[in-house]
Structures are given as C-alpha cells and as structure tokens.
C-alpha cells in the first residue's frame, strides 16, 4: 500500500477573514467551502464545470470552484456569495436581482451573483447581447434568464453612473 498522503497547510483569505487550513490535495475549493467551512451559499450543481452554480471569485476572477483544487490556491483571496454584502448593505448586483425578480428556486443564484460581479470587473459586457453571452457559464434550470439579464444590465448602469459621479 502506498504511504498515506499528508495534508498541506494553506492560507486563504475568505470573505475578508484569514484562514490557515490543512487540506488534502484532492479537496476542491467547493468542498472546502461547503463541507469544512460551512459556507453553503456556494452550490454544487454538476461538479464538472458544466453549470456555474459553484462560481466564486478567486483573486477577483470568477472561476468554477468545483474544478479548483484548494491546495493550488494557497495565498489567494476568495469571495463567495456570503461575502458580497458590505457592512450589512447588499451588493448592487444582489439589489438588482431582487428588484428584477431574477430567480425562482434560487439554486443557481449564488453562482449567478458571483459571476455577475466578475463580469462587471472584467468590463467586456455592455449590451444585453453581450451580457447574455458573458453570463452563459451560468445555467438556470428555472429559466430566469430574461430577468437575470435585466438585473445585470441595471447593475452595470448603476456602476457607470457611480463611476461618472466619482470623476
């Protein structure tokens, strides 16, 4: 029998809090968040990169946490849906999802929200068509797509108004 494989110690900043964690190499970031840290906002849909329910932000970029090995992200900053609100204030994307009724069962929503925040930081989506294409990594089985696009459009508009005000 092969010798047992020792866990690796990694540092992660998750939603603003520093964590030192012992992880086995085969632990995905998704399982680490849900099983070990009880951050169950991030959802497991397919576990194979095909649905986007597990989307989180790693160093500000949206990724599929189900295909991410936690051990490889030593030193990274992770934001999950639990970390989007600031000082009790919902993120503008969350506000827009509520205003636009952009969900039904809500299972895909944490992934949609993190994906939308990533999309806004990337800055490549402007029109509804571009939003649709650049949100296509998040499936919604309830088919709330029309309202999701509207919500992201609102959030983008609010973002640019805010930027103009700051200038």
């Amino acid at each position: 029998m092969a010798p047992p494989i020792a866990p690796h110690t990694i540092d992660l900043t998750i939603n603003g809090t520093a964590h030192r964690l012992d992880v086995a190499p085969w632990t995905t970031l998704l399982d680490l968040l849900r099983e070990d840290l009880k951050l169950t906002g991030t959802k497991k849909g397919c576990d194979h990169g095909q649905c986007g329910a597990c989307t989180v932000l790693v160093d500000g970029k949206r990724v599929n946490s189900c295909l991410t090995l936690a051990v490889m992200k030593d030193g990274a900053t992770v934001t999950t849906v639990e970390g989007l609100a600031r000082n009790g204030q919902l993120h503008p994307v969350q506000e827009a999802f509520i205003a636009r009724d952009a969900f039904q069962c809500g299972y895909c929503t944490p992934g949609q929200l993190c994906s939308a925040v990533g999309l806004m930081a990337e800055g490549h989506a402007h029109s509804a068509e571009e939003i649709r294409e650049l949100m296509s990594g998040n499936l919604c089985r309830c088919g709330a797509y029309a309202n999701i696009v509207a919500a992201v459009q609102d959030a983008l508009a609010a973002q640019s108004t805010q930027r103009e005000a700051a200038e």
Partner: protein, 338 residues
Amino acid sequence: MNRFGYTRAGSVAEAIQAFAAHPDARFIAGGTNLVDLMKYDVETPDHLVDITRLPLDQVEDGTDGALRVGALVGNADLAYDRRVQERFPLLASALLAGASPQLRNMATTGGNLLQRTRCHYFYDPATPCNKREPGTGCPAIQGVNRNHAILGTSERCIATHPSDLCVALAALEATVLVTGPNGDRRIPFAEFHRLPDDRPEIDTTLAPGELITAVEIPAADFGAHHTYLKLRDRHSYAFALVSVAAGLAMDGGRIVRARLALGGVAHKPWRDPAAEALLSGQPATDDSFRKAADHLLSGAVPRSGNGFKIALARRAIVRALRQAAAGTPQSQTDKRIQ
C-alpha cells in the same frame, strides 16, 4: 477521486524533476480538464505537479510580428490581449467561442492543447474504450457517435479533439515549444496532435514528462479576411459539432492564399493543403468555395449517427470562406450567421 501526492513546482527544472520522480505523475495547470477526468476516475495519477507558479504566463512579441504565448497564459487573458485582438483576431475569436467565461479564466494555453476528447465512452470507465484502456474496443463505432469524427478515423477510435483554440492555431501555423528531460524541442502545430491509427491512447507527439513552455504564432497577413465559425447544439457553452477557422490573403476579389482548418471532425484540427491550394489564384466565389469544401471532405466517412456532419461541414466551410472573403468575421456575441 483517487488519492495522490502534490508538488508545487517553483521552476521548470523542478517541475520536470518532480514529474520524473513519480511513476504516474501529471502536470496540472487550470485543472479544468484534468480534475474533471479525475472525478470520473478516467485519470488516476499518483502525483500532481502544480505548474501554475512557473514564470510562463507572459504574452511577448517575437521577431517579424510573431507572438510568443506562455503556456500558462489564461484563455481569457489571451483572448482580450490587445495584440491578439489587433493582430490575431482569428485567435481571439476562437478562444471566445470556447467554454464559458469562468472556464476561460481558469484554462491555460498549454492545457487547452492537451485537453482530451469528450467521447462519452471515454468518460465512462464502466464501458470499454481503446483510448482509455488500449485493446478493449471502441463502442462508439457501433454506438452513440453523433459527436464523433468523419475524417482521419481508424477502426480503433473515431474520437474528435474538442478544442477551439487549436483549430485557430492550426490555421495560423503555430509552433509548440516544449522542454523535457532530453532538452528543448519545437513542434510544428500540424505535427503536435496525431491521428488515432492503432494507438488511440496517444493524443499528441509530446513525450511523457515533456512540458509545454510556450506557443509561437507567426504574423498573419489576412487583415480582416478571417473568421471562426462554430456550429453547436446551443449558442454558447457547448463543444463544436463542426467549426471552421479560415484566413484569406486577398488581392481585390481574388484569393492569393488560403488557410482552412476544421474542428469537431477529426482527432486533430483538420487541414488539407490540397484543398487550400485549390483556392489560390481563384476568384472569391461560392463556386471556388464549394470546390475546396468538396475536396476537403472527399475522404469523409459517415458513421451511424454523424453523417449529418458531412453536409454541415460543407456548408460551414462555404459560409466561413464567404465571411472571410467579405471581411465580415463571425461575431461570438451576435450568433446569427450571416
């Protein structure tokens, strides 16, 4: 997933050493293909060598307008790189046609080249598969083969290579730079992926333990005369049934030189120099395009479920050449095909 050890490599030399120190090691980059396959027990490495901290994440200008793309440059970073957008729009288009924004944030240039087929049988260890377990047979030939190859197949395997990026790199005649225990090599793109023949378990001419360090892309002179046309079961986030990368050097209404590569139809991005030669010196008309398409597909072999790909590919080639000739490349946002 099986149990495995893990090394985070700090240098290329360290990565190659760590790989050699284990009987069944794999390099891991974005992990979007390897971790997926490990979850199905299709890949069961005893050790992973993490190469993501290696200094191979830069896009650099080479000589004569060439671009040198480090193996760890992300698919999204490459697609939105200003030089790629301006000088290699065909490459940017193919990248943006692939996977999803999240996956493109994770996936790397080197890993994309080495992603494995999406054949359902390959993915399911409960079934035989010559690629996964040599000598067990190919159930796809008599089974579900809608996604499978029509060109260059063998009686051992009819799988396709699923990459979009690679179709563009084939058309652009890129070179793959590798390093390994026996030193450095440069592999022309056409020789990088192989046909299944009697060894379908081997996808490429890369030797075990060799590391891709970069991909070099020579300057392209197509101007606006290029396109990447991808046809699939849904508009986004789906692999190609058929895709076409086309680039034309034009002189007025006449084609000077053509590059044409197909995805979704073979075990490697498919090019046919004779079909391209048929276009040289010809007027950019549907008649010329059809002749090239017919030549390119003359050896196509339909299976029970994928015969439609022959007609689809023929039309896609004509359409792509029309787009390229007109200088109106396919948009990867507005999916209507003009």
